[in-house]
Point group: C2
Chain length 458, copies 2
């Protein structure tokens, strides 16, 4: 801990007392995420209880030019919470209140530390839900900061579309509100969208107003097996063109089905499989399922199985739900190196083929799966982070994955973000536009105290 940081620690302990810790175990815990990158512990961890606490911390860090790293649930896959140059980690675990819920307006206001599943429970009491579901039980603040999405973005949009406004503590400790509760606004620059996906590099998100939906009257789950990835993707394309409002449409590649069969006690047919969900009225859901079945049939699918009963729905989706754990079980003790890209859907089948072929040429266990309604797919490679040769191999695989995605007009990340892991790919994707991002960063955070080393190289 350098002198400046020591001063900050001293002053924080004096003003915030037990909300501040420098214990090794706390620092270690907060220096890790779910990526395979090496951890970087912060020097100090603070758990503010209020916006005023956050402002006090940021003001101090501004004065002493010490880094500030906002921390949600630590479920990042790209090193977002790594304190690469030390500093103060602001853990939002004590700011988890749901401040208001309106069933009439279908919106709510929450503190950033509330987790996805905690919020789900609170909203369910009013028959409401917030769609964004990246899999992990991330915090709402963390999901907004990384522009998260997940399985149902094809129907409800990503979190970009679902935050109405937010309060943000700026790098000088001042507080702004980016808007109110209106569903839409054309009042000035879209600051809400500027902070969504800014990965903690422009300020600390301290409050969010979210767009909600009524829990659908009927939910149907469905599964359909295909002879090839191409026929599965052709089905998705046709269904999207027809405007069938699918709530989720997930693909497991044969590699993923094999892993599930081997490690989850499931005996699914080893062939590319689509997992779908439909939301609506009973008649609406049936109409969607029947139309999808027709499209799947025309494209060589093996007949759509669908159900609305909860236990049947869970049975149909079981392989999809087990995929991540099955992947981890392929090689116990190793870390999952998960990467994601997003391409125009016409390039999706080729993208998945090329990724699968490249992964098969590797010695490391791996799988491919995707949120295919958006053209977003993931590769997951089991790697020993302590083995430099393995890490080099997986980085090579990721580099080629991104290169192919960019060549197809896609993006280096659909939903995981840049963090520390994809900084070079951002340059490859956007070139001079990254200079504009740097100008924005300098304008708002001239001392570069906000989560330094993320999105941009140090």
């Amino acid at each position: 801990m350098d002198t400046q940081t020591a001063r900050v620690a001293e002053e924080l302990k004096a003003s915030l007392g037990r909300k501040v810790t420098t214990s090794t175990s706390a620092l270690d815990l907060h220096g890790r995420d779910e990526s395979a990158y090496p951890p970087h512990p912060p020097d100090i961890v603070v758990t503010p209880g209020s916006i005023e606490d956050v402002q006090a911390v940021v003001r101090l860090c501004d004065r002493f030019e010490v880094p500030v790293i906002p921390y949600g649930a630590g479920t990042s896959l790209e090193g977002h919470v790594h304190a690469v140059t030390g500093g103060v980690c602001i853990d939002m675990i004590a700011m988890t209140r749901v401040l208001r819920v309106s069933a009439e307006d279908l919106d709510c206001t929450v503190e950033p530390g509330v987790s996805r599943l905690e919020l789900e429970k609170v909203l369910a009491r009013d028959g409401l839900f917030f769609p964004t579901d990246p899999g992990a039980d991330a915090t709402i603040g963390g999901m907004a900061a990384t522009r998260a999405s997940g399985t149902n973005a094809v129907r409800y949009g990503t979190i970009r579309d679902l935050v109405l406004s937010m309060k943000v503590v700026l790098p000088d400790g001042s507080l702004i509100s980016t808007g109110g509760r209106a569903r839409k606004s054309s009042a000035g620059y879209d600051l809400t969208r500027l902070f969504i996906g800014s990965e903690g590099t422009l300020g600390v998100i301290v409050e969010l107003t979210l767009k909600l939906f009524g829990i659908p009257e009927t939910i149907a789950a469905a599964v359909c097996r295909f002879p090839t990835v191409d026929t599965a993707v052709a089905t998705v394309i046709a269904a999207v063109q027809l405007g069938i409002p699918m709530a989720r449409i997930e693909l497991l590649d044969t590699s993923a089905i094999e892993a599930v069969n081997a490690h989850s006690g499931i005996e699914a047919e080893v062939t590319p499989t689509l997992f779908l969900e439909f939301h609506g009225s009973p008649a609406g859901v049936e109409d969607q399922a029947l139309r999808l079945a027709e499209v799947a049939d025309e494209n060589g699918g093996a007949g759509l199985e669908w159900a609305t009963d909860l236990s049947e729905r869970n049975r149909l989706w079981r392989a999809r739900h087990q995929a991540y754990y099955a992947a981890l079980a392929m090689r116990p003790g190793s870390k999952a190196y998960s990467s994601d890209v997003c391409v125009p859907i016409s390039a999706l089948a080729d993208g998945i083929h090329a990724a699968a072929a490249d992964l098969e040429s590797s010695s490391l266990p791996s799988m491919v799966f995707g949120h295919v309604g958006d053209g977003n797919f993931h590769t997951l490679v089991l790697v020993d982070p302590e083995d430099p040769a393995e890490m080099d191999e997986v980085k090579g695989l990721t580099g080629r994955l991104v290169e192919r995605a960019l060549a197809a007009g896609g993006t280096c990340t659909g939903e995981h973000g840049i963090g520390t892991g994809k900084i070079g790919y951002l340059e490859a994707e956007l070139g001079p536009a990254v200079d504009v991002m740097r100008q924005l960063k300098r304008a708002i955070d001239p001392k570069n105290i906000m989560n330094p080393g993320k999105i941009f190289a140090l």
Copy 2:
């Protein structure tokens, strides 16, 4: 024309020849929009034919520090194209190409000058459509610059949600691309959303990649009359809560119905009326209409009339389609002063009542109507722009309209933008957040050459 501007005119004529004009009639034409604010002609009008032309113009303006005003169709309602300190108007009328359309990916790439209806025609050949419909036949570039939306935003989102990426010429004449063709991305700051709604103050939008939809298999139009605004709004709230995916849901207040009856030869019952549209499969559309009818019935609606046949649909929506022209006919020769606000939907009925009461206390003819699914409503007042007392009166009405919207947690503009007309209200709405906007403006346009006097006071 000052010396610097004269130098620009000279150099532009030398390099771009007939694409440049300083004729009085052209200048007059480009200094006007559809607002009631006094016109401000530019000094020079250029009609670039390519991105390179735009870059050449902006580079010159940067060198001589002369204002640049991007111009689409001139349909702004808030003075966006007014050259308040003179300068060069860049008219996009020669950049109207649809560069590519993909039915598979449901996207297209266009030049900014293509108009909404021109694009509609081109896309229809492939069975596709782009939803944003603000009423006027605006250009796509202009709609993106002002964050436009319109009647079907409740289903398809605003243009904010429908632009995948764009190319922008920055104030120094350099060109950036804000992204590719992926449906979603979490790669760095959301520059696409930063330029959407920036009203020409950060750069010139020169190309846009848009998200498209298949033309629905079935379209149904519907009308339902209500005893009060409150019962109509209660119906809207219940329908949104139930997740009925209405494509459009418009309200005409009694003032609007009266105007339509008086000036369009229609004999509609003078009572608050909802105009709806449903998109989907035949079964899906019927399900939506029947569910809406049930909700309307529970809330005191007078029975939903609905139809899928084109001529019947036009008959049902005729009063809505005629509303704007009927308003103009209330007082021939005067200008329509149209203002819009957006509030949480629970505050919509009160907002409309208060607006209607305030307008009735005025001597000027007026009407209220709204895109009520979003909580967005408009007032339209017929005013003589040459009469300072009348202009003061209408500004007072607008001020109170905005004040009430902000008190209800809403925004000073849902879709018209800030322009020159709502600069003061932006400050009232967002306070210190406007300072952040100014920092962004200074970072990207340090010489303030891009559309000066819009969003921020000079």
